[in-house]
């Protein structure tokens, strides 16, 4: 199998004599390690599986067909939802992207589904004409068009693969709860590493700039200031970034406001306030006052931006809503960041 390591396949012979690769439904150690690694953003672009048809258990021409994406994390979830069941898995080519995102882009879509049904000759492998498509694939699929173009009827399965056994045992009926997407603590927490890494490079660049510029002073450059003021600035910036990247997702329901940028700004204001209190003995000189004011502007700008970017990972934000909040938030973040940086720089020279 071209998809390489991890999924060990042997084949199964269908009722009409075709060979179809068979995979175990139980995840092995390599699968679990792979799933863990993508959560840390390691090699997620290569975490794919060859599109096509796979057998799970001992399927016959009557066994159900499950449709999945060729992102291995999605595929593995489906596998573990099917432990103890026999069936066929039709893997669409979604360019290695999960079902929901791919459905939004249309790669997990009617056209790809219909052409994949034909290319694997699904009609010859199974005798029935039913497909179980994950509900989150629905943004890309038109059930009635699939029926028209392929003869296969789409049944929308539950949102989460772990509900599949109950769905199958209940005669392919999903309960209200199986149809709903929520965003509980555990789901938010696993997204933190990938979120932090996504802007990490930019933040480290900004930190390096602060470190170098901290040495500036009236009439020269001081290496001692780099060590004292520069390191302090880097610590403040990185702390703010980490706080927003971790506390934003973790405390999402409890942070005030509905807009993510507002939720993020509150984290920044809290950090700024703590910083202001901590450095109060220093407020006597103008350079210290400028410094505090500068951070009061820069920190919320950073934290607001970071949490605003978590909209993409969340499960309930609309494009119209994101656009509306960005129309106000992005200019505000830019003004605060630029003004704050200006004050911070000016503080070197007074």
């Amino acid at each position: 199998m071209k998809s390489g390591d991890g999924v060990r396949a042997i084949s199964i012979t269908t009722h009409n004599g075709r060979q179809v690769p068979r995979i175990a439904s139980e995840l092995n150690r390599a699968d679990r390690l792979g799933d863990f690694k993508v959560r840390l953003a390691l090699g997620r672009m290569r975490y794919t599986i060859e599109p096509g048809i796979y057998a799970i258990g001992e399927p016959t021409a009557e066994s159900p067909v499950f449709v999945s994406a060729n992102y291995r994390l999605s595929f593995n979830r489906l596998r573990s939802g099917l432990v103890g069941h026999d069936g066929w898995i039709l893997v669409l080519d979604t360019k290695g992207i999960n079902v929901w995102c791919a459905a939004g882009k249309g790669t997990f879509g009617t056209e790809e589904l219909v052409s994949r049904i034909k290319s694997v000759a699904l009609g010859e492998i199974v005798a029935h004409r039913k497909l179980i498509v994950p509900q989150l694939g629905a943004p890309g699929i038109s059930a009635h068009k699939v029926k028209e173009q392929s003869g296969f009827q789409v049944v929308y399965g539950p949102v989460r693969a772990k509900d599949l056994p109950a769905f199958l045992d209940g005669g392919m009926k999903a309960t209200e709860q199986m149809r709903r997407v929520d965003f509980p603590f555990a789901d938010r927490i696993v997204l933190i590493p990938v979120e932090l890494i996504s802007w990490g490079k930019h933040i480290l660049c900004a930190a390096a700039c602060l470190l170098v510029l901290a040495g500036l002073r009236r009439g020269g450059y001081s290496g001692r200031l780099v060590v004292s003021e520069g390191v302090r600035s880097v610590v403040i910036l990185l702390t703010s970034y980490l706080a927003a990247g971790i506390l934003g997702p973790a405390l999402l329901p409890w942070l005030p406001g509905r807009a993510f940028s507002a939720k993020g700004a509150w984290i920044g204001l809290a950090i700024s306030a703590a910083l202001g209190l901590q450095s109060r003995p220093l407020w006597k000189s103008w350079s210290d006052r400028l410094d505090i004011l500068a951070w009061f502007l820069m920190i919320p700008a950073v934290t607001s931006f970071v949490v605003m970017n978590f909209t993409g990972a969340s499960t309930y934000t609309s494009l119209s809503g994101v656009r509306r909040e960005m129309r106000i938030a992005v200019p505000a973040q830019l003004i605060c960041a630029v003004a704050g940086f200006g004050l911070w720089l000016a503080g070197r020279f007074v």
Binding site: V38, A41, R44, M45, L73, K95, G96, I97, N98, W100, C101, A103, G104, K105, T110, Q135, L136, A138, P139, G140, I141, S142, A143, H144, Y156, V159, A174, E176, R179, R180, V181, D182, F183, V194, E195, S198, L252, P253, W254, R258, A259, F260, M308, N309, T311, G312, A313, S314, T315, Y316, T317, S318, L319, S320, G321, V322, R323, R324, E325, M326
Partner: protein, 97 residues
Amino acid sequence: MGRLQYLKNVVTLKLDVAKCTGCQRCAEVCPHGVFAIENKKARLIDLDSCMECGACQNNCPADAISVGAGVGCAQAVINGFLRRTGPDCDCSGTCCD
């Protein structure tokens, strides 16, 4: 903890009840319980929870639903702005996994 709710009065979802045939597909595919079926017609019962994923529109055989579907992702809006295209999420699975 209450249910997480996003901004109010902003989504573009529209339902043309006259065209609705009561097939219930919209209520089935919606991940946020926006629709209910009453007297064999769909009704919007929680419009503000809509995330504009477009599932209902795509699966409505009567063409009774319209929504400016897209991904509610700030990064995608930024990408679209910088490249002067529409919102483009090249998250490659980082977003919603």
